[in-house]
Structures are given as C-alpha cells and as structure tokens.
Amino acid sequence: MWRLIHGQTLQQRRWGDETVLYNDLSGDTHLLGETAICLLHALQVSAHDEAALVALVCARLQVGADDTAAHETALLLASLSELSLIERCAC
C-alpha cells in the first residue's frame, strides 16, 4: 500500500500538462508531469495498493495494464517516495 506522507498539502500550480508542486516537508519545489500528479491526487484521497494505482494510471493514459505499465508505475512511485511525497504503509 502507498499513502501520501502526512503534512503534504500538495500546494501546486498547473500549466498545461506540467505542474510545479511545493513539498511541505523538504521545502523543495518539484516539476511533475500529469501521471505523477494523478497518483498524488489519488493518494491524497486515500491509501491505495500498487495494483489499484497501476489501473488508475492505465485508465488515465488509456493503455492496457501490462507489465510495462506496472513497471513504469512502480518506478514513478519509487521516485515520489524518494522525494518524501509518499510512503509505503501497512494499512
């Protein structure tokens, strides 16, 4: 399961398909694409397991939920985790 790290408010500005997001915990600003923002918004609502997130991404991108999609989503989740935006949880 993945969840948004407590304290992140996802303060952001979106222009076209690019978004800048303020990281409340690190003070950094991140330039993110639509898929990353889609994941963060889903996790802001509630924790999701990885399969649900893959399905969400595939629906968003209108592609099949194959191994490539699962791999790319996992990489993106890992990147967002490295930025201290999201974390794994047991919930």
């Binding site: 222009w15 690019e18 330039l31």
Partner: protein, 305 residues
C-alpha cells in the same frame, strides 16, 4: 522634500562623515556614514534626486564605510564596511568604496527584506506592464536594462525584483544601474546623455561603473507595477534578436533558482512566484544589437490581449 541635491557637495561630505544621512531608496531607508570622498562623490552624483529624511528615527539598514587605519593606509589604503554590526565583505581598496556601497545596499535588501520574494533580476515597466529580466552575470541583463531605460521604460530595479507577498505587486527599488567592462562603453555610445560614475577598475567583477537612474523613475519609486512578462535575456555576439516562449512551469523553476529567499519563504514564496508566472508570458530572449532588442520589447503583447 529634502533630497541629496539639497546639500552642496561639501555639506554632504561633512554630513556623511559626521552624523550620516538617512537615504530613502524606494521602500527602504538606509543610514549611511562615511568619510571616504568617493562615497560622497558617488552619492552626490547618482542619488541627487533621492529623498533624505532629516528627522528620521528609524532606518532599515545602517551602513558605515571607513578608511582602515594602521600602516597599510599609507601604502594600500583600504575601506572597511560595517552593516548593522556585520562586515559582509572583506576590506577592499579605497578606490572601490562606492561599488562596495552599492553591493552592500543590494546585500542588505536581499538578505533581510523577507516581506518580499526577492529575485535576482532587473525589472522595467511601460504602460503599466512590467518585464522581469532574470539572468546570471554575463547575460547582458544590465546592458539591456540600461538600454530599455534610456528609451523610456521606467526603471524599477537593475538587480533586485521585489514581489510583495500576498498581492504579487512588483515594488520598485530604483537605484543606479551597475555596468561592467564592455557594457560601460556600449551604453555610453547608446545613450550619450547618460550620467555615469567614474569607472573603477580591478574589482572582483572587473571594471565597474554605475549609471544614474532617470529622475522620473526615482520620482515614481512609490508606484508598484504588475508583472506581464518574464524574459530570460542572453547576449550572443552576432545573433539576431529572437523571443522563444518558455513553458510556464519551466519558467517557474528557473525563476525560483534566481530568487534569493525563495526557500526561506517556503509556501509563501511558492505562492508569490506562482502568481508572477500566472500573470506573465515567459520567454527566452537572445540578442546582440540593442536597437533590435528595443524594437522587440516595444512590440510585446501583454497577456490576455
């Protein structure tokens, strides 16, 4: 209103050496003390139109520049700086005292004025629309700024763009324009009626001269402006003048890197910068000929038109 020009050069020198003066530059009042002649010369020449607060009880910053004592003063005279009890710069040759004064004023604002988002960028305005010109040293920012100002654009600042938190207004900080090396003669030729301080050679930035801000810009230092364009200039010898749009999110990230206190301000800085980008069109601008650059700037279309 009392201005620097209200004093004779002799009176100004005596006042600076004794009590100091409370010099108003836009939203800031600085108490300046110095017995160094080149500091008084520079203030007399370049700050003639600026208000002096005779009865001021408060100053945002207190700057003292004094000639260092000891044996060295007979061989290699130096000037020492004190700024509210701090010496942000090492002593410098006395010939560099006026540039040091200018650098210190910049340092005071960029290090302390955290009620604004403070961006390392020039800013000029015409017809109510402001252009922010962020750029690293060597990009031709100040040269372009000086040329624009000589053609009727109002100077808000050559060095520090101040964005008021909450409102997004650009707050003027009208001061002399710092020109370096070849830019000095370029602007002397381009705007022959301009008033310059004497050239100071061998500074850490090369040869430096300061260009007097137009009296109209100084008189309007209380009038804020709205951002309309963020333009990253780049001088390239022989290049034709060209504007290339930049995606807003990319412009945001680049502008953030040019801000002195963006990280310090946290989410307030993020919001302020977002407001600037929201209100502006962003471009990369390559140029070599100033006339071509001025022409392109004169034809900029404001956002939403």
């Amino acid at each position: 209103m009392l201005t620097v020009a209200s004093y004779s050069r002799a009176q100004l020198g005596a006042r600076l050496a004794e009590r100091g003066i409370h010099l108003q530059t836009g939203a800031f009042v600085t108490c300046v003390k110095s017995e160094v002649a080149s500091v008084a010369d520079g203030i007399s020449l370049l700050y003639a139109d600026y208000p002096v607060l005779e009865q001021a009880e408060f100053a945002d910053f207190h700057i003292s520049l004094h000639q260092a004592g000891g044996v060295r003063r007979w061989f290699r005279p130096q000037v020492r700086l004190d700024c509210d009890g701090i010496s942000p710069f090492q002593p410098l040759p006395v010939a560099q005292a006026f540039p040091m004064f200018e650098w210190t004023l910049n340092w005071c604002v960029s290090s302390n004025a955290h009620r604004y988002l403070c961006i390392h960028a020039a800013v000029v305005e015409k017809n109510g629309y402001a252009v922010i010109l962020p750029a690293p040293p060597g990009s031709g920012k100040s040269t372009l700024c000086a040329a624009l100002v000589s053609k009727g654009w109002r100077l808000l600042s050559d060095e520090l763009t101040l964005v008021r938190l909450g409102s997004g207004e650009l707050v003027p900080l009208v001061r002399p324009i710092s020109l370096k090396n070849a830019s000095i003669d370029i602007i002397r030729r381009y705007a022959p009626s301009s008033v310059f301080s004497p050239v100071v050679d061998d500074t850490s930035k090369g040869s430096i001269a300061h260009l007097k801000a137009p009296a109209d810009s100084v008189a309007r230092a209380g009038q804020c402006a709205r951002p309309a364009w963020v333009i990253f200039p780049k001088y390239a010898a022989g290049a034709s003048a060209q504007l290339e749009p930049i995606a807003p999110a990319r412009a945001f990230m680049r502008l953030a890197k040019n801000a002195f206190n963006y990280s310090l301000l946290g989410s307030a800085g993020f919001a302020a910068l977002g407001d600037v980008i929201d209100a502006s069109l962003s471009y990369e601008f390559t140029y070599s000929a100033l006339d071509d650059a001025i022409d392109i700037f004169s034809r900029l279309t404001p956002p939403g038109q």
